[in-house]
Symmetry: C2
């Protein structure tokens, strides 16, 4: 993606930052520390190497991700969130996660939540719509 220099509104930029299909997921995977390329590819279900590299490059251009390369074999790099915009964006992504979870619960998509360990069987069973509002 070619980065523009004529944005007329901050949210326009943010849209360019996260519009890619995998951007938020990639960022979320880095929230607990640096990750190697293969590691990310393993953890993100359905992504391929080309997409991963492409989107990482854009995240770097926008200043949300930093890349650190290590010498020697086997080759190794580390991708991590930047302190300024990377970490800040995680706050937004965390909230968006809640919105996604809310949608899944409301639409009976509980399997994925269990599989990923986002919620336990018991937690889901306990949830009434009223409680959900509070949780959010």
């Amino acid at each position: 993606m070619k980065i523009r220099d004529d944005y007329t509104c901050p949210l326009e930029i943010v849209h360019d930052i996260i519009k890619g299909k995998w951007k938020t997921i990639i960022l979320y995977q880095m929230k607990d520390g640096p990750k190697g390329l293969a590691e990310l590819e393993r953890e993100i279900e359905g992504i391929n190497q080309k997409m991963l590299l492409e989107q990482l490059k854009e995240l770097i251009q926008f200043g949300l991700v930093e890349k650190k390369s290590f010498e020697g074999y086997p080759l190794h790099v580390e991708y991590s969130l930047t302190k300024r915009r990377g970490q800040k964006m995680i706050e937004a992504i965390t909230i968006m996660q809640m919105v996604g979870v809310d949608y899944m619960l409301e639409n009976g998509m509980t399997e994925a939540l269990l599989e990923k360990g986002i919620m336990s069987q018991e937690e889901i069973a306990e949830l009434t719509p009223q409680k959900l509002v509070k949780t959010l």
Copy 2:
């Protein structure tokens, strides 16, 4: 957009919700209360009616926006954020705004910030990188 029913992760849904070019901006415009269609079209620079209606429809499907129609002429409708997911998403969008503003400041795109009244001349002048971190 056809809404899927096989999402494997909450962020995948959120991506579908906000990937459209205007979604976050539309939501942000509704943060202070219901808006009519023409009103939104006037306030969002660069959008056209087709896109607006299209994206509103999707936001309704995902439960972030509600639509209320009023009888009589002239025709009138009101679009507003839903309490659950709409309002919650605004929290995320507000944070994303900060990220966008940060990017604009760092890249000398201060004109748009002044025009939209997001920041004043003085506020911008006062900002050192260190202060910016705190502001965020």
